[in-house]
């Protein structure tokens, strides 16, 4: 997994709450058996007009959001299905960071598996970032630093966030968590020996 230490990039502001994973990656695109190539389908139902051209009214299609790598949204981002295709699509599109006041649990965990950092800030801080993104009509940049756990811009905005220390370490070091867990194989075997493998009937 690609490590995440610090990232500076353009912000795309998606001013919506309860953005569900069915919107992030609609089900008709879940049939691929690869992890890659989902970015072209990100927010497909919102992003494209019926004729397949980009909808200019959709937030990600605005000129100032071109090349965005930091996604800003309202609360409960990523609710709904467990599909990891959602973070795959966001990452493949180019996002490295999602900032919101709250996230759905499964989506939140899935981000960390893909070198993408979900950042929880307060409602007020998120509201301020929406104001700053919209203020100039120009691309707005944020720096998200996982070593200092801070989000900053060049205009005086600073906010700090917390991350589970283990998830943080995995991201900073780009760890393969399965390999790490397999270093505890003896403990797993010991658990199985102590509990007896749960009986499988049939």
């Amino acid at each position: 997994m690609e490590p995440f230490t610090s990232h500076t990039g353009i912000v795309a502001a998606l001013d919506r709450a309860n953005v569900d994973t069915d919107q992030i990656i609609p089900k008709q695109f879940l049939k691929r058996i690869e992890r890659t190539g989902f970015g072209q389908f990100l927010f497909s139902d919102w992003r494209f007009l019926p004729d397949g051209s980009p909808d200019p009214a959709f937030e990600l299609n605005r000129p100032e959001a071109a090349g965005a790598t930091v996604l800003l949204a309202r609360r409960n981002f990523g609710c709904g299905s467990s599909r990891e295709h959602a973070p795959w699509a966001l990452a493949d599109y180019g996002f490295r960071v999602v900032i919101a006041p709250t996230f759905a649990d499964i989506f939140f965990n899935n981000c960390f598996q893909n070198g993408m950092l979900p950042v929880k800030l307060s409602e007020d801080e998120v509201a301020e970032l929406f104001r700053r993104t919209a203020a100039t009509g120009q691309p707005y940049r944020l720096t998200v630093d996982l070593e200092t756990n801070t989000v900053t811009d060049t205009g005086g905005f600073t906010a700090s966030f917390s991350v589970d220390p283990f998830r943080r370490r995995c991201l900073l070091e780009g760890l393969d968590d399965i390999a790490l867990s397999l270093t505890h194989a003896d403990e797993i075997s010991a658990w199985e020996a102590a509990h007896g493998l749960p009986a499988v009937g049939g």
Binding site: N18, I33, R83, Q113, E192
Partner: protein
């Protein structure tokens, strides 16, 4: 004396393998359920790393999300769907995983066949790459959905990295009124908790109302825990649970011995939850969602609400968007909303009990001329049982389509979808934009409410239904 513990505490404590310094605990997973959509990348990951499935005999697979619900003897028309189903078959063969394949008598929706076959048991930890894994908590298991990377982790290690969630007791007092179902109860609860009220928690449903529910009803309630943001919902095992499990294919050989252990699982009387909310079953009326998330719900005797009357500014903005998408005007009576489609099925409401309830409403009636209606049983077993009872003939005589088992129009990955603008009364679990087909409009209801809506062509209050 040991400190009193909740059901969650007991299962959690039992399953923590170790908590290495500076790391999240490794939680042992007793049962891993696998389907075709969220597993191919996980098996590919194992292959690339040269890893094996640690406990193939604790891993069970079935294709459900993608499968056609038409005649199973016909080839699968969509080559991409076919490839995903073929891939599952090949992976199960290569890694030694038990597959309930298309054409197998026991194939079905993964959350229906787990309990039905007795794979799901009290006190177990159960995961699946699907958010509705919460269903299995109805049998007193800790069950939750995971992503594909976690699927790979469980396949390789039989454990999951997991921080302990908080506990949330949802106590429901009294009994549900006549005509009000478990689906109405859980929609009512979600409406009050919001779509994120349960985030970070495991919900434990308790109280007289819950104790009085049958297994199918309990599964309906636990199934939708995720729609309130909770990864898991659970109900303490009791005589209802044990009676349901006894004699099922994968039930323990020493059933009485297992039962003695299961009887120790319910939360201790003095156990403390991180949060408690108390609801009255008597307050619940038949529910209909009006918006694009399951918390946007109202009683069938109500109207489409004014967004200005709801929550804070972001909830209000959500509601404005939802009404626009749903093509609904503020103040419209719910019973005046006309329908094009009716779907009875999904892991939420496809049990034999659900089909009986719907058939009972339909008996002697016809589906309205303006409505196309279908029934999709949750599993091959449910389908056969229904056919033995003659329910299929009740449905087809009334004008319903009678289909093969699968997830079908709950998420419309297979050909069962809504056309843009079509409005559907659905017994499924999500009314998100485009969930049942791009531009489709979904209203979540109980099976009885869906059946009545099919007959009348619009929503009706099932409490006043004329049964024939």
């Amino acid at each position: 004396m040991p400190a009193p513990r909740t059901l969650l505490d007991k299962i959690w404590d039992e399953h923590v393998v170790c908590t290495p310094t500076g790391e999240l605990p490794l939680l042992y997973i007793d049962r891993h359920l696998v389907h075709e959509v969220t597993s191919p990348q996980a098996f590919e990951g194992l292959r690339l790393a040269g890893r094996r499935v640690r406990r193939p005999e604790a891993t069970f697979a079935t294709p459900d999300h993608n499968v056609p619900t038409t005649d199973r003897r016909l080839p699968i028309a969509d080559p991409v769907s076919k490839q995903q189903i073929d891939t599952l078959r090949a992976n199960c063969q290569e890694f030694g995983v038990r597959l309930f394949d298309l054409g197998d008598a026991d194939q079905g929706i993964v959350h229906v066949i787990g309990p039905e076959l007795g794979i799901t048991q009290p006190g177990m930890t159960i995961v699946c790459g699907d958010s509705h894994t919460a269903t299995h908590g109805a049998l007193g298991a800790l069950a939750f959905g995971i992503g594909t990377s976690e699927v790979e982790h469980v396949l390789a290690t039989q454990t999951l990295r997991q921080a302990k969630p908080k506990s949330f007791e949802i106590r429901v007092t009294g009994r549900l009124p006549e005509g009000v179902t478990a689906k109405d109860l859980v929609l009512h609860l979600i409406g009050r908790l919001s779509t994120e009220g349960g985030t970070g928690y495991v919900l434990e449903y308790t109280g007289e109302c819950i104790r009085g529910l049958g297994m199918a009803e309990r599964m309906t309630v636990c199934n939708m825990s995720i729609e309130a943001g909770a990864r898991a919902g659970m109900i303490a095992p009791d005589a209802t649970t044990f009676d349901y499990l006894r004699g099922r294919d994968f039930a323990p050989a020493d059933f009485d011995g297992a039962m003695a252990a299961w009887e120790r699982l319910p939360s201790d009387p003095e156990a403390v939850y991180d949060r408690v909310e108390i609801f009255s079953a008597a307050d619940v009326v038949p529910q209909v969602t009006w918006g694009t998330n399951p918390a946007q719900v109202v009683g069938v005797d109500g109207d489409v609400p004014d967004p200005g009357s709801l929550g804070d500014s972001s909830e209000q903005a959500s509601a404005v968007r939802a009404l626009e998408y749903m093509g609904l005007a503020v103040g419209t009576r719910i019973t005046d909303i006309p329908l094009d489609r009716v779907f009875i099925g999904s892991c939420t409401n496809s049990s034999i009990e659900d089909l009986r309830a719907a058939a009972n409403v339909i008996k002697g009636h016809r589906v309205a001329a303006t409505v196309r209606a279908m029934v999709v049983p949750g599993s091959g077993r449910v389908k056969r049982q229904a056919e033995e009872e003659g329910l299929d003939r009740v449905f087809t005589a009334a004008g319903f389509e009678w289909r093969e088992a699968g997830c079908s129009m709950c998420l419309g990955m297979n050909p069962d979808t809504l056309a843009p603008g079509e409005r559907c009364a659905s017994t499924s679990n999500r009314n998100f934009e485009g969930r049942q087909g791009k531009g489709g409009r979904t209203h979540l209801v109980s099976p009885a409410m869906a059946a009545a809506a099919a007959v009348r062509g619009h929503f009706v209050d099932i409490r006043g239904w004329e049964y024939r």
